[in-house]
Symmetry: D2
Subunit: 364 residues, 4 copies
């Protein structure tokens, strides 16, 4: 069986989805929707067999379409996504999933109720580099995860209607969720907007986890150089991930800190250093979007839950909300109600799945 | 006239001071104090003409000694420094100046009262790289300073009795004070201690300034790789400073963001990008400590105020206090009373000198 | 007027030409030739309006076609190119132009006789980086060119029928010709083939110029890391060009060596060092192939001589021949008859154009 | 027993030897010779117990001195070294060993006849990085050594009386000898002198080995940036060695080229690529000179042959002679008589030791 897919939105990211679904085995790109006829003409020229239309409703009304992929501005995600689900279509949603966690939760519930696949396009989760990091962490090789530290900065592009948190930190939130399998209990963020009337263009966010892990991400649209670097420090090993490095993206350091009681070796200090080899594992070069497209088809055909399902998307939206709230409160800590936010089981997970609603609360 | 100098403490940093004063024109190293006779024997072997002693009092009692340099653990700085000043000696103090801002203030007052030179050894201020950055900022070439972003991480050395803020962030606090000539109005810090009973080994600190500048420093003793990197973004240009780069430490980017009203160029966005040349100015290679030693001698001989005087040292201690307070409050914002903390005039400074006491206050 | 173009060969490079001519203003891609019907089907799917055929003769017979671009294996370049010229078509030829300099000369002569444009696709000449280097050299800012030193290595792709000289050093030969406007007088090359029956996979080539410039290129298909780095040293300044650097490809160093007679400064040496600023000029980001395509159309429409004309292509083939001859003679110097090989005028060129034939001669 | 050592020459390198022997266990620095009294005063100040003298003969006449280390210009090495040996002193000679291979051979013979230790100070052989490379090669992990490719360039220092080959390529010659345990059969070199009357400041040297290994070194005093990089490619793995990298100097790549007959995988090519992990082994941080000093003492006390003995020093001088001869002949190949130049046994060496004299011959 072939999955017939309609794509909504042919702006910045849409063309990637269109090209991808046109080539994904098991997928059949049947229609593209955009409000701009010029863009649709481009699609028509490249893909003569594809139906182009300015009416989203055409997709809903078309019974041959199994799935809809939405790549429109975030403030339209909820309405379009809900309409798609209610029309019985499987749903691929760009990140961030929605503007509010309430909306995200409603989509999750709707998809669940109808037994439809809901995938949120956190593409990084399908990269060889992130999967290799997860593999190392889940195998226990890294030991206890002490910290996650990300720098994700460059010059532009300023977004008109979303802050740098929604644009850049969203990647770290998804990666953290995937790597740690744990939702933070508190978050604090600082940031600023150097241009009156624009959303924040620079932010520093710290996330605290019950397990003791601390995470931080530094995001900016105002840096002279592009940096995409993550450090993950564990009790046994440490990882660096440089996404701009063409060949050795992931480096695993056999370096760390040990407690010691040897009085000779470490005179007045209870801490010793371990300096060992470094190892850069080969990373799969398969394009993330290709992998993700095939995964979407597989989930639909075989009733599987996507690795980046609506619940992951929801948790990420919660973090955006909480970080934004803290940032606008000049760094006030925002506590995430840990009764809420259900978690998937992950490896030998220390957490059980639980249901509930996020409550973003301020202390005192 | 030659300045006779005694050095107290021959541990980690003391040997650098000893070597430096032994070679500084106008300075005469006459005595070294340490409690460890083995260390004093090393000094004696290398510098036969220098008096070595385990008694600090010997320095105070020696009328031929004009100045005392103190390189002992920070918890001894106040007592030793105050004794030196009261004995009429000019004072060179290692950073951080003292454990508390109250102590720092007392030393500032004592030195002022007695007309003695008080230099705090924030060595970075005497490096060619930091001075070049200051030159660019003060010339107006950078425009308005939007942000300062520092990463200062490595593996170890863990300190027994001070946190990573006192050990590493202290450098950024001094550099910020020197570059901006402005004291922050609020500070928020997150950090953690992965080893029970040890001080924090990792911290993220954000500083807010009245002018709109935002500063951030990321400090850690638990990173697999050493990083010493600062970005300074301005309205006209941007700087990167990589202290581990052997030749081009400072790079000035003619890149930035402009507001624009040209509808054609930037369709729905009021912001445009400027991408231009990069320029790496030649940096003076003079050793910072050498320059600082000569500056100390010059200040004593010619009654000058050191570039890193006690007031700068005090302001840095205030920041350490405030950051530590915020960090232990899991990121609670700490406001710095801007009536307090006097400022030197700096170029065409926008601030006037004012006197007073720091009051670290919590909101609400 | 629009130039109708047919492309021959849809293997490794052909798809780039097809895509490029399909988008070049003033060009009209009308036909694609390949022996492989599968490849032609791909073309047909992507460009439904383009005629596809396995018969090269169809292009020659089609009077509406003005120009033919040939991207087939090098051993077919001469026959296909000569047939195209004789059919009165303007010619775009992949590099290296031909297998032998005699063939290249015949094509040059044929095109000249018929007044047809002959462009050899040395794409590097159209990159912003190479043009910026040329600009700096021609302006005199670099001073006298002392040396050119290139490293161009990576792992694979091994070529079945050409050596690493034809595959990689060919780029340096073209860049050198463009930058220096001078043909070497002698060449020496070493290389080896680690796999019996395959062409050389690693070579070191030195070129000597009458002006005193020395050039060297290190090419290999057997390096673990990819390197694309050129140094150009002049009497006044020096350039580094790193093609893998995403943003600052070209760096200009105000460093160099001066003769001096100051006895104090440079005790027993007549040579002093100058260490100054570094400057990374902004490089045009226009795609080289796009620029080259527009240039080809412009040359045809306005009877201009391409920057990478057949004579440049010929000189490059001469260097491949000479280098290969030296390499197979284990480094024997091969002298290039400087009476031969005509040169274009280049800025305030020190050479006059001259005509003749290459004679590769061995000494004694 | 303690080895009493006298050092001759306190110029560029001498101070390192003096400091090193002053701290080497088992060594006792007793005297320093230099013609410059100012320099001797510096020594006296730093090392009051050491005898300083301008008369070399004093060392020879002193029966308590067991060994002499010579760090004077190369044109004095033979006379001073021979005098030291004839006075019955063990000998430490700076590199290059002598100006001519005949002189080097005479020193080797003299030391052998008298049973004295003769160590040539090729310090690189004692670095952790070079020893790690040797370990990997000798273990067979690298497979057959296909090539060795070194870049060793920087700006200055120009030498008054030796060319860049003696100054920089000398390191590669020693490292090659140590790594390969094989003497080349032919050598070809190109180079130039951009400053009339000075020795060559830039050279490209290729060495051919009977085993099929090809080696190349690119040395220059005229590069804007410092590079110290070596690639070693083997049939199983490949190594990069970047001496300026602070932490990961050696990287081992599980990459390479395989012959294959699989028609599906590599259509028309018999060669396939293997892309695997990279591994950066921990390198010993022991200072090379310290290790070398202790090795010298150990050789004297226990009648061992130094790892960098006179024979290695001689082979290196042979290569300098041959490369210089080729360079001045504009790249003419110089054949090294492989009957000559004895080789130490090295691991499971494929060569037997043989005796004889070098004969540098030009081809027919």
């Amino acid at each position: 069986m072939v999955i017939n897919i309609g794509v909504v939105g042919y702006g910045y990211w849409g063309p990637n989805l269109v090209r991808n679904f046109a080539e994904t085995p098991g997928a059949n790109l049947v229609a593209v929707v955009d409000l701009d006829m010029e863009k649709l003409n481009v699609v028509k020229k490249r893909f003569p067999a594809v139906t182009v239309t300015t009416r989203f409703q055409d997709l809903l009304d078309n019974p041959s379409i199994h799935a809809i992929a939405i790549a429109t501005p975030v403030n339209t995600h909820f309405d379009l996504g809900m309409a798609a689900l209610r029309a019985g279509k499987h749903l691929w949603l760009e990140k961030p999933m929605t503007e509010t966690s309430a909306e995200a939760r409603a989509l999750v519930d709707e998809a669940e109720k109808r037994g439809l696949v809901l995938l949120v396009d956190h593409t990084f989760i399908y990269t060889g580099a992130v999967r290799k990091m997860a593999e190392i962490i889940r195998s226990g090789d890294l030991g206890e995860v002490y910290y996650f530290d990300s720098t994700r900065v460059n010059l532009g592009l300023f977004q008109r209607d979303v802050s740098v948190i929604s644009d850049l930190a969203v990647h770290d939130f998804a990666i953290l969720d995937y790597l740690l399998g744990e939702h933070p209990t508190a978050i604090t963020a600082s940031g600023t907007n150097h241009f009156p009337g624009s959303p924040e263009n620079l932010a520093y966010i710290t996330l605290f986890y019950e397990s003791g892990t601390i995470a931080h991400t530094n995001v900016s649209w105002l840096a002279p150089v592009k940096v995409r670097q993550i450090l993950v420090g564990g009790s046994k090993k440490m990882i660096t991930y440089d996404d701009l490095e063409p060949s050795e993206k992931i480096k695993v350091y056999d370096k760390g800190v040990n407690f010691t009681d040897d009085p000779a070796q470490i005179k007045e200090m209870r801490i010793g250093y371990r300096m060992g080899d470094m190892w850069a594992p080969k990373i799969s070069g398969t394009e993330a979007l290709r992998l993700e497209g095939e995964h979407f088809v597989d989930c639909i055909l075989n009733s599987k839950v996507p690795e980046t399902d609506g619940k992951l998307g929801l948790r990420v939206v919660e973090l955006i909300e909480a970080a934004t709230s803290s940032m606008r409160g000049k760094g006030e800590t925002v506590y995430l109600n840990r009764q809420h936010g259900d978690r998937r089981l992950l490896g030998a997970s220390r957490r059980q799945s639980n249901e509930g609603r996020l409550s973003v609360v301020r202390p005192g």
